[in-house]
Symmetry: C2
């Protein structure tokens, strides 16, 4: 960093700002007022924010909040208590039955060549079945993608299928890269099982070149055969690949002790500030309380939980009374079933209230760069461009037509504009669904900027509307 | 992160992309070729990159590379050896005499109230003089800004001046916030000295709310009185502020053992690929080898060093022969004197060669978001907008008129377009000039994206020109 900047930084920090300024050449008193309120929202989040303290409590006290676990239930109580401190108009638990998959004892993966045992780092995928207690031994057939797997046919029979295709590192948009690659994990094991495979291994869905495996859900549709399924770390996947080049007939030993137990009772946590003018019209902000069992769940999705709570706190702290009901929904079971999202959407469909806007925060607590918005008319994002001049000074450089997360997407069919905040996501998959998703990878300031961005967009929707 | 994305991610990831596509509706064969080359540059950096390995060597073997230190000289040899591996056309050291300030024994800061000694965490600023060996004790006068200091007059006489004004956390653009606040550190001590102060303390220039102090240079212009000067951590500054509220007369004890030794010999490292068409027209990419003594110097500016080296490696690996001479300049003494920058610019002024373009990388190895460009006509950035459609798919969302760093800025007066890469900078000042500027705060992928961004913009300048 320069000793002293020789040329002053330009005020117009981006390409966009110029455009934004052009759009708002005739900037009226209302827009001045809007800018003031948004500045105060950011100042409240950045100077008096509680998001990092809340995240510290959540992640330290309740890591590994998988559906069915004690820690998920503990985090529900924690969330309710934390929300009670905000003196809101309503806090309820919405009962939800959730799947209950458990990992059991640590998994083992190894192969033996010339009397040397090589252990590999892997973790069972959520939904995996168990191997026999003392493991299974089988030859391996490697493919580089889900498409290649589909073409395997009888060659998979009796084998361990190894789908060695991960996220393409040359794609800048890591979420797109993930969406493209993840079918290997979500559908690969069931497809391999239908071809007679005895187990499936996938390359971890990560961009970190290390020896830490990343779990995640795999799907066994009704009627399909459930088989043992696991993810290997990047380093271990490369090691297995190299060993197979030398000895295509090597046998791999796998021991997985996972079980699917009966569904158990859990609950979404719902908290709200009643709308002063339109109490039956609802704006939602939310994330999900559950995380993978092996993960502290800091970025996925502890940050979304504490940002959603922080949005309500900011409104209360600044004395902003929303015209529409502002509701924070902390969903359960996003990771392996979406039971929380389904229960919420089903109840919303029955209720007399109307959902007008729903924002999700579930791609990490990194520096927020923009929002995705979508609605059935597909015009929400273009209508929201009017707000870019207000959000751009705070680092928001786009509002694009695009996907919301799994928890609020179902509300689109009820007529709501749904969307999500889009933070910088270069590091997200380094931590995602792994033991590395820890508190020390979250930056307080970036976390606070996300809460302020959500609160600002919601305030604009509440006061001016799309 | 969603279990499965319910709505596919849009391809048009930003507000900008739409604009970019509109601009390039008639996208000819040349732009297709350009996109291919830039894709290959990014792929080379992201799949075969050496930047992280090089950074690991530099920061592990030569932390604390302050001008005059053995580790700076060691890093110069390391850089030369590393560049030799790239089979370039020319590698030379350019001799530079640099200042030689040393910290000496660890500093001490404490006050005593009701027989309880409270120690504060602080570090001397580069350029500070020493206290007496057993320290000094004096009353403290606190001001909240450099402007307030200037108005102190005789009240500063015989006192320790405490300038308790840091970076405004509500400014999204942290570099702007730093530029605005840093005068307290760079000019405060000399100004306080001119008012008769016996020492000066400043609040660390950081946004991290912790107890780690951040150093940096302070200036004592010729003829001014050099006094002891140090920075307190955020937590320690708050502690002192609170103690002064309770007891405005408390005495602070300060012991600083710094010395300014005679200037010593050092060198810029220069390496280049000769231009195939215009060998006398030079494109520079560079960063600075030196760092503060207490800092490993990972983001400041180890990342800039390895990215600059990586730009040459990418050109060689892809077999791209630049038309103009492509030169990597690793400057010394950016942190406390700019002797390296001055020596390079002075030599460039004498030479028959002409500098056409110079890019600096010195604001951390984070996810790159854009570039600042400037020239004497102030039209470089607007002319560069033609390249946005090529860079935007890789995450570059702006090219703005704005400052370059201290090392390449002097080349503007020689007619070059000068500029710098602008990464996401929310975390930069958490680490900057402190013991926390460590390797583990650098993300390999983000580092590689920066190298690829620099190489791409340079390739466009080399082949098409602004």
């Amino acid at each position: 960093m320069p000793f002293i900047r020789k040329i002053a930084y330009t005020k117009s920090f981006s390409f966009i700002t110029g455009l934004a300024l052009a759009v708002s050449l005739v900037r009226g008193a209302n827009q001045e007022h809007q800018a003031d309120v948004i500045n105060s929202i950011y100042a409240e989040a950045l100077v008096h924010g509680t998001a990092m303290d809340n995240l510290t409590q959540l992640v330290t006290q309740y890591p590994g909040r998988l559906s069915g676990s004690e820690n998920l239930q503990g985090s529900i109580s924690w969330a309710e208590t934390t929300l009670q401190g905000l003196k809101l108009d309503r806090i309820v638990q919405q009962p939800v039955m959730v799947p209950h998959w458990v990992r059991g004892k640590a998994e083992q993966f190894s192969f033996t060549t010339e009397d040397i045992v090589t252990a590999l780092n892997g973790v069972a995928l959520g939904g995996s079945s168990a191997t026999p207690d003392n493991g299974l031994d089988a030859a391996v057939i490697e493919v580089s993608s889900y498409v290649e797997l589909q073409a395997l046919g009888a060659k998979a029979n009796g084998k361990i299928v190894f789908i060695n295709g991960g996220i393409n590192p040359t794609t800048y948009l890591t979420l797109e890269g993930y969406s493209h690659a993840v079918i290997a994990r979500t559908r690969g094991p069931a497809t391999a099982g239908s071809l007679g495979a005895v187990a499936t291994l996938v390359r971890s869905m990560t961009l970190a070149r290390d020896d830490v495996p990343h779990t995640g859900a795999t799907l066994f549709p009704p009627g399909s055969k459930r088989i043992p399924a696991a993810a290997l770390s990047m380093v271990s996947a490369d090691r297995l690949h190299d060993a197979l080049l030398k000895d295509p007939n090597l046998k791999l030993h796998i021991a997985i002790h996972a079980q699917t137990l009966p569904d158990t009772a859990s609950a979404n946590v719902i908290a709200e500030i009643k709308g002063s003018e339109f109490p039956n019209q609802v704006i939602v902000v939310g994330g999900h309380l559950d995380s993978w069992d092996i993960s502290p769940g800091a970025h996925d999705d502890g940050t979304g939980i504490v940002q959603s709570i922080e949005v309500l706190r900011i409104f209360k702290a600044l004395g902003i009374k929303p015209r529409h009901t502002l509701r924070c929904v902390l969903f359960v079971n996003e990771e392996n079933g979406s039971a929380g999202a389904n229960a919420y959407a089903a109840a919303a469909r029955q209720a007399t209230e109307r959902h007008i806007f729903a924002l999700e925060t579930d791609t990490g607590g990194f520096d927020p760069k923009g929002f995705n918005l979508s609605n059935t008319n597909k015009d929400a994002a273009s209508r929201a461009q009017k707000w870019m001049p207000l959000l751009n000074p705070h680092g928001i450089s786009f509002i694009a037509t695009g996907g919301a997360g799994a928890d609020v997407s179902p509300l689109a069919t009820l007529g709501a504009v749904v969307g999500e905040i889009r933070p910088d996501s270069q590091r997200y998959f380094d931590y995602h669904h792994s033991i590395k998703d820890t508190l020390d990878h979250v930056n307080a300031r970036e976390l606070e900027l996300g809460a302020a961005g959500l609160a600002s967009l919601i305030w604009l929707e509440d006061t001016e509307g799309l």
